[in-house]
């Protein structure tokens, strides 16, 4: 591919990403506001001892919500490629790489936006001390971002390669829900059969699907799982770039 000036690439990416966001944010706004309110309530009840568990539960659910929205966006992209709508945009001077980058950017912007609105802003508004008191705050944030980026990049790669909405969301939901469940079931079965199973092995398998969860369960694995999610994301991003430049036909 001939090198375009970075300006024209960035321009195309920002125009297309703004268009995508314009089409999807409306659907998310209500959900995000609702999640923000629920989280705020959970924060308020967190002062009572049992409330802390509720808060953890709500946070985990909201986190699942982000990942579900990542799946939704990646499968929308796949659907655009599947139906032929992508041809509408790719028949303009927009490059294939800019097109795919705009989906990545839109997806990450939605995650970042919902993260701020549902978790960070209520926390700052209600209990700013809690945020700062969290030890390993930086690592925690890195792990959260790592997990979102991990899902975004992997599902975008799946979406542009398979170009099928249903298959892309199936892969997404497998990673999100079934993957961890299956690793736990396998663990239980192995324990029943073999008696003693290496817990680390199961944790690692779980970590493939949810690096964040692993890092929260086992603080020793925090750095490792952060490194894992970012490394995989980088490699998969490289695959996306190569695929977009060489093989993405519409």
């Amino acid at each position: 591919m001939r090198r375009l000036s970075p300006g024209s690439h960035l321009r195309g990416v920002s125009i297309q990403a703004a268009y995508i966001l314009g089409r999807y944010t409306r659907h998310y706004t209500t959900l995000v506001v609702l999640a923000g309110i629920i989280y705020s309530v959970a924060l308020l009840v967190a002062v009572v001892p049992a409330g802390l568990d509720i808060l953890m539960g709500v946070s985990a659910l909201i986190m699942l919500g982000y990942l579900a929205s990542v799946i939704q966006i990646a499968s929308s992209m796949a659907s655009e490629l599947e139906s032929g709508e992508a041809l509408l945009y790719l028949s303009t001077p927009l490059s294939r790489l800019s097109y795919v980058s705009s989906w990545l950017l839109a997806s990450l912007s939605i995650s970042a936006g919902t993260f701020m609105l549902t978790l960070v802003i209520p926390l700052i508004a209600i209990d700013p001390g809690a945020l700062l008191a969290q030890k390993d705050l930086l690592k925690f944030i890195l792990a959260v971002i790592g997990e979102v980026v991990y899902y975004t990049v992997i599902l975008t790669a799946v979406g542009i390669i398979v170009k099928k909405r249903n298959l892309t969301s199936a892969v997404g939901f497998f990673m999100l829900l079934l993957g961890p469940m299956i690793s736990v079931i396998v663990f239980v079965i192995l324990e029943a059969v073999a008696g003693n199973v290496d817990g680390d092995l199961v944790a690692s398998v779980l970590g493939i699907f949810h690096p964040l969860v692993l890092s929260q369960f086992d603080p020793d694995k925090m750095i490792g799982s952060i490194m894992y999610s970012y490394t995989v994301s980088l490699i998969v991003a490289g695959i996306i770039i190569q695929y977009a430049r060489r093989s993405l036909e519409v």
Binding site: M1, R2, Y19, S83, G84, L87, S91, T92, S95, S247
Partner: protein
């Protein structure tokens, strides 16, 4: 003449189909080229290769001197109407037009101009999903026209339209091309409807380009009949005299005169006769309307 589209031994292979086999042709600037061939002959594939959304398996594709698969800039100044376009249904007509305009480096005014060129002005606020087939096709044309392209690629623009909409879209294409002074490529598997608008042909069958060139040249080369337009105020008398020549295959009354069908091998002879008639003031003038596409096509395909 300079070529806007240039294909040199271009092949395109999908998993187990050869959609295009060492196709070579060119489309000169300023022409309205018909890309003719039956279903599955490789018309859409050729158009998408020119657009750069498909990668040639081998060979060289140049559009305005650039390789469109490698260089998105080749699409600057190219308008495209897909064979079966898919639009986002919930987006408003104006939003979609403006978005495509931005991607082409234009602003809302560019989008508005394109919309009024095809008569979409009144539907700008409607969701795309609410438009009828005919209006969706106008939207498609408008999207292709944004940015006043110098090359228009129209893939079966009249397919799936009812006869009225078909005629309107064809008329629109002629008008647009005169206004923009663009090079136009129209693919079709229906020959008669292109008769009136094309002046250049690329004939394709089973992935092979069988021949290409100006309609007149092809008509002569394949001895297809040619149609002359003769303007005269004495059509009956002129017709009676023309019909006596053995190479005149038919004469028909037409607005302002006659349509004369002639074997292309004898077009010079006819022209001499017509010049004689003009000298005698029996006719006011004549012009080659065109060669008959159907006959050219038959001749090319049968080798």
């Amino acid at each position: 003449m300079e070529s806007v589209i240039y294909f040199e031994e271009v092949s395109k292979v999908f998993k187990n189909t050869v959609a295009l086999r060492e196709a070579s042709f060119e489309v000169p600037r300023g022409s309205i080229a018909g890309l003719l061939g039956p279903n599955g002959s490789g018309k859409t594939t050729s158009i998408k290769l020119a657009l750069g959304t498909l990668r040639p398996s081998s060979g060289l594709v140049l559009v305005r001197g650039m390789e469109p698969w490698r260089d998105p800039d080749a699409r600057q100044g190219v308008g495209f109407l897909p064979e079966s376009p898919v639009y986002p249904r919930t987006v408003r007509v104006s939003q979609l037009l403006e978005h495509i305009a931005k991607l082409k480096g234009e602003d809302w005014n560019g989008a508005k101009r394109a919309a009024s060129l095809v008569g979409l002005d009144k539907l700008l606020d409607k969701p795309v999903g609410s438009l009828s087939r005919g209006y969706l096709q106008r939207l498609g044309l408008a999207l292709a026209l944004v940015g006043e392209p110098e090359l228009l690629l129209l893939d079966e623009p009249t397919a799936n339209l009812d006869p009225n909409a078909r005629v309107e879209i064809l008329r629109l294409i002629s008008t647009i091309r005169d206004m923009l002074d663009a090079t136009v490529v129209v693919s079709s598997h229906i020959l008669p409807e292109l008769q009136e608008i094309v002046d250049y042909l690329v004939i394709i069958s089973s992935g092979e380009v069988l021949d290409y060139g100006p309609v007149e040249d092809l008509a002569k080369r394949y001895e297809a009949r040619m149609v002359y337009h003769v303007s005269t105020r004495n059509p009956r008398i002129v017709a009676r005299s023309l019909i006596t020549y053995h190479y005149v295959e038919g004469v028909m009354l037409d607005t302002g005169g006659l349509k004369v069908y002639v074997k292309s091998t004898h077009h010079r002879a006819l022209e001499e006769v017509l010049e004689g008639l003009a000298k005698d003031r029996m006719i006011d003038g004549y012009s080659v309307a065109t060669g008959l596409l159907g006959e050219i096509y038959e001749a090319v395909v049968s080798g």
